[in-house]
Symmetry: C2
Subunit: 214 residues, 2 copies
């Protein structure tokens, strides 16, 4: 119970982080439209005064929270890239990882905020760069994961299509039951798997990987 004698930088960092994470939690739980600054402060264990000291407006807080969240996700993904000798195998690993990323509370929060940004100019401005960063990150991960495909421009359309499909399923997942989403994803995944396998076969030449015809 003794005062831990934190340094100023520590105090600052800790309360800010608590606020950012509480913001995400509240958005996930109550939805962006229903969330209030008071709820966030309460959940963060911080008074509204402190909250306002660090983030003078709600928009600022929410935007910062989303950026913080995305930083976490990117870091988390960077730390262990998909491994495997077979190109198709790595691609499917990546597919599952992509889905897992979308099947997360974080995605719920991100979607809510993104939707809200449609009619909130401030939010929109701050989020504009995020999407660019995101696809840049994915591209980077692709190039890194598939060095043998460098320079092959055919894989980006595939990537975008797969990403779109995953997002589509994930969006339904926001409001559907977990079971129905699970089954939907299994179906869609089957199709995407074929799509990817075909593309990989075509890209690397039909010998090195893929399904050998009996």
């Amino acid at each position: 119970m003794a005062a831990p004698r934190r340094t100023q930088a520590q105090r600052r960092a800790e309360t800010r982080q608590a606020l950012l994470e509480a913001t995400i939690d509240c958005v996930v739980e109550h939805g962006y439209g229903n969330v209030t600054t008071a709820q966030i402060a309460l959940r963060a264990g911080v008074t509204r005064g402190a909250q306002n000291y660090h983030f003078s407006a709600k928009t600022e807080l929410v935007a910062a929270a989303l950026e913080h969240l995305m930083d976490q996700l990117i870091e988390q993904v960077r730390l262990d890239p998909p491994r495997g000798t077979d190109t198709t195998e790595r691609a499917l690993l990546l597919l599952d990882r992509l889905w897992n990323l979308h099947d997360t509370p974080a995605f719920k929060a991100a979607t809510e905020i993104a939707i809200a940004s449609r009619t909130d100019t401030e939010l929109r401005a701050r989020l504009a760069g995020l999407n660019r960063r995101l696809i840049g990150m994915i591209r980077g991960m692709l190039d890194e994961t598939f060095p043998e495909l460098t320079g092959n421009e055919d894989i980006y359309p595939i990537m975008l299509t797969v990403l779109s499909a995953v997002r589509g399923v994930a969006v339904v997942g926001l409001i559907g039951s977990p079971e129905s989403i699970e089954s939907l994803w299994r179906i869609v995944r089957g199709q995407l798997e074929q799509l990817i396998a075909r593309a990989v076969d075509k890209a690397v030449g039909k010998s090195a990987s893929g399904s050998p015809r009996p």
Copy 2:
């Protein structure tokens, strides 16, 4: 300026419809989170009293509006099914129609409301049946449009995948610029086209339709 001497049923129907359509418009324009009942009433040319008489709560109004909207869309789709002798041709026509449906203000509104329903139990309950109705409608349209494929269960996975991808693109379209979405759709569409063409070829036997090899 003389009172048109409307019957009660007419009065009722007209104000209700005005309210429902105004609701959609307002949601599209301001976003679900920012829309107020006063705005809606104003836009509908109806007083808040009348509004409250017909729809005692905001939730009820919004849910009814979305149902009304979907009825319109379904009707609109039913009225002219895609025509063409070639199976693939009809499928691609259907694909484009599906996209056009998602590239519409109505879809913006529907998405906003659906997202909102995630954390609003009342809304959620009322919208639960809508998704079932929607995919049921699409299935019906498929069976109707492709009588030659009746009984072929392979096409539903394709349908769900295509639908997911379209939704994914459409969701990005909510916050992206029209140009970027247009280009994204062109890319994804190319992939889906291949997916569909392959599936159709496989389903009907490679002779009747599809790409004749020179």
